[in-house]
């Protein structure tokens, strides 16, 4: 006698991650609202169940279980940090439910129950480096990141990639900082030094949310301009920029799969709806929002196709589903639970928007990196009968085993 279909929204509304995740909660509410206006799904209205895991990882697991078992949510949209995803993963697998994860991350995972709508490293990091090599003629690289798994992995991949491209070890500088680093004087000055060796230098930044503002402020104040040493970031989007003084940042870059400045009718409609929904004409949109937009539409399409919200059926139906993304193409859910996306490179403008300087064709998300020893032989394919998240193509076995 279910009147509604319940959808879980599992994003931190308080604590350190609220800064990024609150918007994602809002966008989910908007999408669900909109879907209901269109008549819901399978003739039923959708109901969002919002919980606050408060940037606390064990609480994520607790709330996930609550959403699935107590509230009977048929699918959940949530998480930002990888650790929150790792924390809920066993819960989703145990209870065989569905999670859509909308944030760029390090990859190296493919779960039957998780659908990754954010970018894998090959959909963000590597294209960005390619762009800098081709267009800025960069010869020297600073890989700066917050000391945790996503930057470490991304940088490992990038390091291998750069070396494969003939960059010498002494032309790569790797630097890690703690979460929430607020004093960047030494590091920025080191970057400056590193960059004045006569070769064109760029910074690839995997610096995490909070630490970016002081980082860019220091860059600006120490006079590092984009024309001298461009910084390309993977975690700085419109939302983050809204809280910064953009003047000194003009020309620095970011690589995403979506920018608010994308000039397509879909995006314009999305932005208008967003402004109407939030009642604020200056609210920005960003990449993880688009990921939820894509993920949600995929889920709706899959449920409609399957004719049921049953988890197993929806999981199957999701594979191969294509929905329009906001940058004028179709994104498809691939058998590895990653999606196809274009890679966009943008330069920061004074108004906080990105000037898109390059847009690639669709790139398929690669779950296991080609640049890591342990994973280069693995693939994920959830199509039955294989249905394996870590199939070793060398040994032909599921379970990752090499031999």
């Amino acid at each position: 006698a279910d009147e509604t279909i319940k959808v879980g929204v599992l994003h931190s509304l308080s604590g350190t991650m609220a800064i990024s995740e609150t918007t994602l909660k809002d966008v989910m509410l908007m999408l669900i609202d909109e879907q209901n206006k269109k008549g819901g799904v399978l003739g039923k209205k959708l109901e969002a169940v919002v919980v606050d895991p408060a940037s606390n990882w064990p609480l994520f697991a607790e709330k996930a279980r609550e959403l699935i078992t107590k509230d009977k949510c048929v699918a959940t949209f949530g998480c930002w940090t990888s650790v929150s995803r790792k924390s809920v993963l066993p819960v989703f697998e145990e209870l065989n439910s569905i999670l859509f994860y909308p944030v760029q991350f390090e990859g190296e995972e493919s779960s039957k129950n998780i659908f990754y709508t954010g970018a894998a490293p090959n959909q963000q990091a590597i294209p960005a480096v390619d762009y800098l090599m081709a267009n800025e003629d960069v010869k020297r690289w600073v890989l700066a990141g917050t000391d945790y798994v996503y930057p470490r992995t991304t940088n490992k991949i990038l390091e291998a990639y750069l070396k494969a491209k003939g960059v010498a070890a002494e032309d790569i500088m790797i630097n890690y900082t703690p979460f929430g680093q607020s004093d960047w004087q030494t590091i920025v000055s080191d970057i400056k030094k590193f960059g004045s060796a006569g070769k064109k230098t760029a910074v690839v930044s995997t610096i995490n949310g909070d630490a970016n503002v002081p980082f860019y402020k220091e860059l600006g104040n120490q006079g590092i301009k984009a024309t001298d040493i461009p910084v390309v970031a993977f975690s700085v989007g419109e939302e983050e920029l809204a809280g910064m003084d953009k003047k000194p940042l003009v020309g620095h870059l970011a690589a995403w799969n979506y920018f608010m400045s994308v000039d397509t009718p879909e995006n314009k409609a999305f932005i208008d709806k967003w402004h109407a929904f939030t009642g604020k004409a200056n609210r920005t949109t960003n990449d993880p929002m688009e990921a939820h937009y894509i993920g949600f539409n995929m889920w709706v399409a899959a449920v409609t196709a399957a004719g049921t919200t049953d988890s197993e059926a929806v999981q199957d139906a999701l594979l191969g589903i294509s929905v329009p993304n906001l940058s004028g193409g179709l994104s498809t859910m691939m058998p590895n639970h990653y999606i196809t996306k274009p890679v966009l490179i943008g330069e920061i403008q004074e108004d906080g928007q990105f000037n898109i300087v390059q847009q690639s064709p669709m790139v398929v998300g690669r779950e296991w990196s080609d640049y890591l020893d342990g994973s280069k032989d693995l693939i994920a394919d959830w199509r039955k009968p294989l249905a394996c998240g870590n199939f070793n193509i060398k040994s032909g076995k599921c379970g990752g085993k090499a031999a």
Binding site: T177, P178, S189, G198, E218, G251, V357
Partner: protein, 530 residues
Amino acid sequence: MQAFLRIAGLVVVLLLGGLTSAFADAAAQSKLASEKFDDIEAGVSALATSGDPQASAVIGALADGKLAFDPASKALYYQKGSDTFEGASGSKVAAPPSGLKKVKVNNRIRRAIEAAQGALTLMAPDPATRLAAADAVFKSHDEAALPAIDKALSAETDTGVKQAMERARAAVVFLSSSASPADRVNAANLIAGKSDQDTLGLLQSLPNDAPQAVKDAAATGVKSINETLMLWSGAQNLWFGLSLASVLLLAAIGLAITFGVMGVINMAHGEMVMLGAYTTFVVQELIRSFAPGLFDYSMLVAIPLAFLVAGAVGVLIERTIIRWLYGRPLETLLATWGVSLVLQQAVRTLFGPTNQDVGAPAFMTGSFALGGLDITWNRLWIVVFAGLVFAALLLLLRFTKFGLQMRAVTQNRRMASAMGIRTNWVDAFTFGLGSGIAGLAGVALSQIDNVSPNLGTGYIIDSFLVVVFGGVGNLWGTLVGALTLGIANKLLEPFAGAVLGKIALLVLVILFIQKRPRGLFALKGRAVET
């Protein structure tokens, strides 16, 4: 500025002599009318050297993002104020054609623009502009600028600018494969006369196929610059340490009052800092919308206001909560933790969870060189500000009646009241003072850090560490504590990296406390035990 460029442009054109033709102009401009960065880049250089009288205006508009083109006719149009002008003629057009497309700029174009503007403004009437132009040429070391710089040099009277131009010229010559090796060696020696990172970079960017003599000269230069820079980098680290120390001091000093003097384990201290930062934000928003011209004074308005706002909230908290908890210090921890949660959420509800954009006034942007030191203005002002706040507070505590009463009350509230001291007032004002100072810290921190509801949580641990390390209840201790931790952190960082450096610092603090169990400036003697 626009006017300048125009004049400068004209001058350049005149000097370069009429080797231009209308045909060339049109070609250069139409190159800009493109969506391809390669074309645009070529267009910029072409236009800059074309002698087109409009070159300066067009390139200036491009730099400002005000240049558009008509895809059909390939004609350029630029905007100035609310008017639109034709690129080719510079004449105002009443109704620009529809379907104009903006000429896009990326970093490469921006570099080309800088170089072009450098060349175009070398003869500007304002020496500062000429200096900037010379530096731009030095950086771009674009051979095309050589004629312009030679002309400019011959006309230059200001010695400082002249020097810069000579260096700029040398930079071009040094890298020019067409110059004679002897000239290039001379150029290298001239460049190496100034020891800074840019020079070093320039010298190191010499291609491998350069003549051996030039390479040698560059190598000598690099060596001597490196030696000088080594010395300076030590000093630079000290400065970084001092600057970090000033931030720590500001963050901690309010706590030195509420916690150090009053004994309230004030977990809401960070939120007071946050309130100060948000006050700055609100002040700036108001100024931006009502008096944008006064933006540079926003800090001056924000400082007293942040003190008042955070102070008032502090007084409110003291009157409603803390005052019931004197003599129960540990419970202040529980209550103020609650307060901090509420304040964070209140700000989150009011302003949203995301960062707010607090801009830097002009006097706090950029940096200047002091010898080989690179000193950023915002850090310098924060150091000064921290020093002033500290001094003011010290004087207040030492030499005023309020200071004495405040210390008396916090040491023995009951006895102080029996002496006729209005302990309620003193308590409220003391807590208000500590909170107000935290608010001041917020103003300063808004210039270097996130202004978000979480701002405070990032500083609370360090603040307690500083106060305790220095010795609770001793303002000098807080000062020396902040200095020690700030400088030690910055001296460790280059060796150990930011993460290990911080860990090492924490371990050192733990070990140090074993030696001085009551902090750096421990009070000794009987007085402490009672």
